[in-house]
Symmetry: D2
Subunit: 399 residues, 4 copies
C-alpha cells in the first residue's frame, strides 16, 4: 500500500525475497506439506543458503549476531513477505521458538551454554524448544504451574510435564519454565527459566501432539514432554531466580510483532487467491464469480481488514522502537487479537470463494485454515488480551 514505512532496505529485500519464493518455494509447498517436516530439514538447506545470500539470515538479529540488523518496522515488512509460506521464516532461521530462545540465550546464558548452543543455533545447525504451557493449566497461569525445579547442591532437580512444546522433536535444548520459589508472595515471582539439554537423563519427549489433523514432526511439531528428576547446573538458569515471567514477557513482546506480520503475509496470500479465483471463475456465459456482490463484499472487507491490520502492526512496531515494549502494551494486545481474528476471517472467506476446492488439500487454504486456528489461542487467547487491555483502560479512567 503506502510507502510510509518503506526504507531502502525493505525496498530492496522484499522484491528479492518475493522472487525467490515465487520461483522456488510457493510452487513446491503443497508437495512438501505432505511429507513429515523432520524429513524436509536437510532438503531445505539449499534454500537456507539462498536466504543467507539475500541477506535475511537470522532475520531478527544484529550484524554482530549474524543478522541483517533491521529495525523492528523493517523486520515487520520483510516478515510479511516471508510469512506467505510456512517455510519462509524457517529458511531465515527465524522460526519460533528458536528466534525467541536465541534472544534469551544471547542475553542471559552462561559462557558454556553460549558456546555449546548459541553458536550452532545462529548457524542454523541446531534447534531448541520452549517448555511453558502445562496440560492441566489455563494458559501460562503462574499460580498453578506444577513443574518444579528444586535446588540440590549446585543443581536443579526438575520434575513436571509440559505440552505445546513447539519444535521439541529434534531440538537439542529446551528452555523450561519451572517453579523455583514457591514461597514468593506474588505468583509472578515464583518461576525461573532453566536451560535443559534434551539429552539430559529424565527429559522425555512423550509424543508429538496431532493438531488439526496434522501429526507434526521436526520443527513443526508441538510435543508433550516430561521431566523426571532432570538434573542441570544452577548456572543453566536464565536471569535471576523468580524472573521467569519477566523474561517471558520480554520474549513475547516482539514475538507478537513477528506472529502478526507472518499472519498478514498469510492473509495477503489468501486474499490474492480469493481475488484470482473470483476474477477467473466463469459461472455461466460471461458471468464471473467475482461479479457476485456477496463475493465482492468479502473482497472489499478483506482488503480493508488486512490494510488496517498492517497499519496497526507497523504502528506498534514503531511505538516499540521509539517508546519501548512496555509503553506499547496496549497496542501489542490490540494487534494480537485483531490480526489473529482477521486472518481467520480472510482464510475462511477465501475457502468459501473456492467452493469445494477450498476444503481440499489441493490448495494451501486448508492448511492455513487448520494451522492458524490456533492464532486466536496461543501467546494469550484473544479473550485474555481483550480483558487485560480493557482493565488497563478502565484503571486509567478511575484515576
Amino acid at each position: 500500500m503506502s510507502t510510509l514505512f518503506t526504507t531502502p532496505r525493505t525496498k530492496k529485500l522484499r522484491p528479492a525475497i518475493q522472487a525467490y519464493l515465487d520461483e522456488h518455494i510457493l510452487q513446491n509447498e503443497l508437495e512438501w506439506l505432505k511429507q513429515p517436516f523432520g524429513e524436509l530439514e536437510s532438503m531445505l538447506r539449499t534454500h537456507k543458503q539462498a536466504m543467507q545470500k539475500l541477506g535475511v539470515w537470522n532475520l531478527y538479529h544484529s550484524a554482530e549476531h549474524g543478522g541483517p540488523g533491521l529495525s523492528l518496522t523493517e523486520v515487520a515488512q520483510v516478515g510479511e513477505t516471508l510469512g506467505q509460506t510456512v517455510f519462509g521464516l524457517f529458511l531465515c532461521n527465524a522460526q519460533a521458538p528458536d528466534a525467541g530462545n536465541l534472544e534469551l540465550l544471547l542475553k542471559y546464558a552462561n559462557a558454556d551454554l553460549q558456546e555449546r548452543f548459541v553458536a550452532p543455533m545462529l548457524a542454523g545447525e541446531m534447534r531448541s524448544c520452549f517448555g511453558m504451557t502445562e496440560p492441566d493449566l489455563a494458559g501460562s497461569n503462574p499460580v498453578r504451574m506444577h513443574t518444579t525445579a528444586v535446588q540440590e547442591g549446585d543443581n536443579y532437580i526438575i520434575n513436571g510435564r509440559k505440552w505445546f512444546t513447539t519444535g521439541a522433536d529434534g531440538a537439542r535444548l529446551c528452555i523450561v519454565m519451572a517453579i523455583t520459589n514457591p514461597e514468593a508472595e506474588k505468583p509472578h515471582h515464583r518461576a525461573s527459566m532453566i536451560v535443559v539439554p534434551t539429552d539430559t537423563e529424565g527429559f522425555c519427549r512423550e509424543r508429538n501432539i496431532s493438531i488439526m489433523g496434522h501429526d507434526g514432526s521436526g520443527w513443526l511439531s508441538h510435543s508433550e514432554v516430561t521431566f523426571t528428576n532432570v538434573r542441570v547446573p544452577i548456572s543453566n538458569r536464565l536471569g535471576g531466580e523468580g524472573q521467569g515471567f519477566l523474561l517471558a514477557q520480554e520474549r513475547l513482546g516482539p514475538g507478537r510483532i513477528h506472529h502478526c506480520m507472518r499472519w498478514i503475509g498469510m492473509a495477503e496470500r489468501s486474499f490474492q487467491m480469493m481475488v484470482n479465483r473470483a476474477a477467473g471463475r466463469e459461472l455461466s456465459d460471461g458471468i464471473m464469480l467475482g461479479d457476485k456482490q456477496m463475493v465482492q463484499s468479502w473482497i472489499a472487507e478483506s482488503r480493508a481488514e488486512i490494510d488496517a491490520s498492517r497499519l496497526l502492526v507497523l504502528h506498534t512496531a514503531h511505538a516499540i522502537e521509539t517508546q519501548g515494549a512496555k509503553a506499547a502494551r496496549d497496542q501489542i494486545s490490540i494487534i494480537k487479537f485483531t490480526v489473529a481474528g482477521m486472518l481467520n476471517r480472510v482464510v475462511d472467506r477465501a475457502i468459501q470463494v473456492h467452493g469445494g476446492l477450498g476444503v481440499t488439500d489441493d490448495t494451501i487454504l486448508s492448511f492455513l485454515y487448520r494451522e492458524e486456528r490456533a492464532a486466536r489461542i496461543y501467546d494469550g487467547t484473544d479473550e485474555t488480551h481483550k480483558a487485560s487491555l480493557a482493565k488497563r483502560i478502565l484503571r486509567k479512567a478511575r484515576h
Copy 2:
C-alpha cells in the same frame, strides 16, 4: 427441549440409541478416527447389528424396505441423536450418499439393478456413490457440465470427470449425472442420471481427495473419478431422459433435513463439551472458566442458536410432510444456511473454550471443525441458497 414433536417412537428410540452410543461408540471414536475408514468397515458390523436390534436400521425407509417407517419429523429427531458421532448414521445404513441413492434406485431402477444392487444395499453389504460435481464447474451448474452420455445402440457411452464423489472408495455402483440431451432448450433438461457399476470398463477412481488434512478412505472418502468410454445399457438410466436435475432436486430435499439434523447433533455435542469444560476448568482458586462472561455469552448464544436451528428444522420437516417438499422450498433453503453457519460457530466457540486442547486431535472438536467446514459449501453454498430464497421472495413481491 420441548415435547412438541416427540412421539412414542422417538421417546423410546432416542434414549436407547444414546445409551448405546455412550457405551460403545463415543468413547472409541477418537481411536477409530485415526484409522483408515475403509479398514473400520468390518469391525463396525457388530454395531450395525446393534442398531438393527434397536430398530433404526435403514433409518429413512419404510417397513417394506427394511426400515422403521418413521415420519420425517421422527427421523429428524432420531437423526440428531445419531448425528453426534460421524459413525452414527453409517451404523444405521443411513449414510450419505447411499441413503439418497437408495431412494432413487427403489423408485426408478430397472428390475435387474434392483436385484443386483438394491437388496444388498438395504442389507448394508454394498455401498454406492454419486457422481455429480465436476472439477471445473461452479457447483452442479447444468449449463456447463462436461460429462456426456451418448447413445450407441442400446447403450450409453459415458465420458467425463467428477470429483467430490463421496464414498466412491469401495462403492459397487455409481449414479452419474451426464448430459444426454445437449440440444434441450432449458439447461436443466439436458442431463440424466445413469447407474454405472464401478467394475465397468473405463470407470476409474483416480484418487481419494484429501480434505482438510484427512485423506479419506472407504465410506468417508471423497474421490475424483473418470469415465472413459464407459458403456452401460440405456435401461440403466433412472427416470426419463433429461430428468437428471429433477431427480437430483427430489433427492436433495429430504437430504437437507438429514444433513441439518446431523449437524444439530454435532452442535449439541460440541455445546455439551464447551459447557463441561467451562464448568470444570479452574483458572485460579475458586474461579472457574465458566465464571468468565465472555464464555457465558458464547454458551448463551450457542444455546439459543441450536434451539432455533432445531425448531426450524423440525418445522421444515413438518412442512414437507404436510405440504410437500416443493411448498417448503424456502424453508429448506433457510435451514441449509442457518444450520451450517450455526454449526461452524458453535464448534469454533467450543474450541476456543478448550484453549490449546481445542486445536489438538485429542478431542473430537478438531475433527468437526475440519470435516464440517464444508457444510457451508456442499448441496449448494450458503450464498446460493440465500440468493435463491431472496429471489423467490422478491418475485412474489413484484406480483
Copy 3:
C-alpha cells in the same frame, strides 16, 4: 409460515385485524406519530371500539375479565399482527404496563382498589404506571434500591425516585416497588409492591424523559417520578411483605412473550418494506435494487432470523402453557435477547435498503430504529439474560 400453532380463533382473528389495521391505522400512523400521544387518546377511542367488536379487547384476559380468553400461543400470534403498529396493543387495552399491572391487581388488590381502579382499567378508561427502575441503579437491582416504604400506623410512608416509569403521564395509579424489609437476609426479600393513586399528596411526575429524540407524552411516556412522604394504607400492598420481586417475576414472564411477539410484528413489517423497496426500486435500465446480492443476503438472513424468532417464541409460549413459566425460564431468556437483537438487525437492514429515505421520518423505519433500540435494554439487558442463562446451564453441568 406454518399452521403448526394456528387455531380456529387465530385463523379468524388475524386476517380481520390485519384488514382493519390496513384500512384504518397503518396509513395514518406516521401522521399520528407527529402528535403528542396524550392528545391522540380520545381520537383513538373509535378504533378501540372496533377492536372490541373484533373480539380482541383486553387481549390477554379471560372472558371473565372482559377478554377473549385466548391461550398464550394464540395471544402470541394475534399479538404479532397487532404489533405491526405501535398503536396495535393500545387499541386492545393490552399496552404495557397496564396489561401487567392489571394481572397483579386482579390477583392481589384489595376490594376497594379493585372497585376504584380495576373495573375502569378493564374498560380502558383509566391508565396506570409501574415504578420500578431507579436512576442510580443498574437495572432493578434489589440490593441497592433506594425507595423505601416505612410503616406508620396503618400506612406506608413512601420516599424515593423512579424513572422509566412508562405511561406515568396521565396514569391514575402507580404500582411502586419499595423497600419494606431492609433487614431481610436475602436482598430479593426486601421489597414490596404498593399501589399509589397518582393524586396522592407527595407523588410527583417530575418530567417525561425524552428518549431517542421523542419527548413522549400520555401512554407513550417514560417519566421520572418522585415520592415525598407519600402516605397510603398498608392494605394497598400487593401480595405479602417482601414479595415484590417474586411478583415482578410473575409479571415479567408472560410479559416477555408479549414484547417478543410485538417485536416480531415490527420486524415482519420492516421486512416487507425492505422487500417491497428492493423489488420496486430501479437502479438503472432494468436493474432493480433487489438484483444486488448484498440486498439479497439481507433479505434471506432476515427471513431466516424472523422465522427462527417466531418459532422460538411460539415454542416458549407453548412451554409456559404446558409446564409453567418457571420451567420455561431458559427459553424466556433466550427469546428476550434473540428477538430483540433480531429486530434491531432487521430494522437496520431495512433502513439501509431505503437509502436516504430510510433515515427520514417519512417512513415508520426511523421510529422503529429509535423506539426499539431499547428492546435490548429493558426487562433485563441482553447481557443479563445471557449471563443468567449460561449460569443456569453451567450449574446443571456441575451436578
Copy 4:
C-alpha cells in the same frame, strides 16, 4: 496514540481546542441540541471568534483564503478533536456543505459570484447548500437525474426537485447539479453544476426533512427544494458543460477525509463515555460494571477499531497528499465504509453500557446514534463503496 503524524502545529492546536471545547461547548451541547439550530447561529458567534483566535477558522483553507494552511494529515487530526461535538466544525466555518462548496466556488466561480458570495462565506456571514440527490433516484445516479437546465439566451432555465439538500434552510446560494447535456454519450458527462442564489424566483425550499426524529433547521437542516423555471446566467455554471460529476468527485475526495475524522472524534468521545460509565458504575458492593467481561470485550474491541480507523484515515490523507486523490481511490472507499461502520458499532456499545440512560436524550449518545446512522448511507452507501473497490481489485487481477 502515536506521534507518527503529529506536527508542531497539531501539537499546539489540539490541546488548545480541546480545552476550549471542554470549557465552553461540551457542557452546553445537550441544552443547545434542544433548540432549533437556526436560532443558535447568532449565539454561536462568540465561539466562532474564539476559534478564529485559536487559528482554526476556515480550517481547510490556505492562509490566502483566511485559513490556517494545514496539510491534509494535520487537518485530519485537528478535525478529530473538533468532531467530538456536532458544533465543532461549524465554529470553524468548516461545516458541510459550505466547506466543499467554497472549494468549488474559489476555483470555478466567476468574478461576480466570488465577490457576492465567496467573501462573506469565508467570513462566516453567509451559508450555502448543495442540491444533488433527488427523491426518486438511487444515490446520485447520473443516468436517471431529472433536474434539467436548458439554455435560453444567456441563461439556464432550471427545473427539478432535490432533497437531502443540507443546510438549505437559511442558505444564500445553492449549487445545483442539473442535466445540461442529455445527449452526451456517457451518462457521467450529462450534468453540470450551477450556482443559484436562493432568492432567485422559482427556487423554493419546500420543507426541512425530519430525520430520525430531528426536524432540523438552519445549518443542520436537510431540505427538499424545488426549481421551477429558475433563471440564472450561464456564467453561473461552475467548470465546463457536462463536468458536474467530475467536479463532484473532486469535492467528495477530501470531503470523505473530513467526514471520517469527524466520525472518529465522535467515536472517541462515545468510547470515553463508555469507559467512564463502566469504571464508575457500581453494580453491587465493590463490583463495577467494568468488571463484567462482556463490557470489557466491547471496550477492547472499540479501542482496537477506533485505532485502526484513525490509522487508515491518516494513512489515506498521507496518500492523497503524496500521490493525489485518484491514486488513493481504493483507500478512500475503504475508510468510508470502515469508519462509518465503526462509529455505528461504538455508539451502539456505548449506549448498551449506559443501559436505560443510554436511550434517553440526557446524554449525547442518543443524538449520535440517530444523527450518524446516515453515515453508512450518504456520500455513497457502504455497499456502493465495497462494490466499486472490489471491482477495481478484480479488474487488476484480470490483467
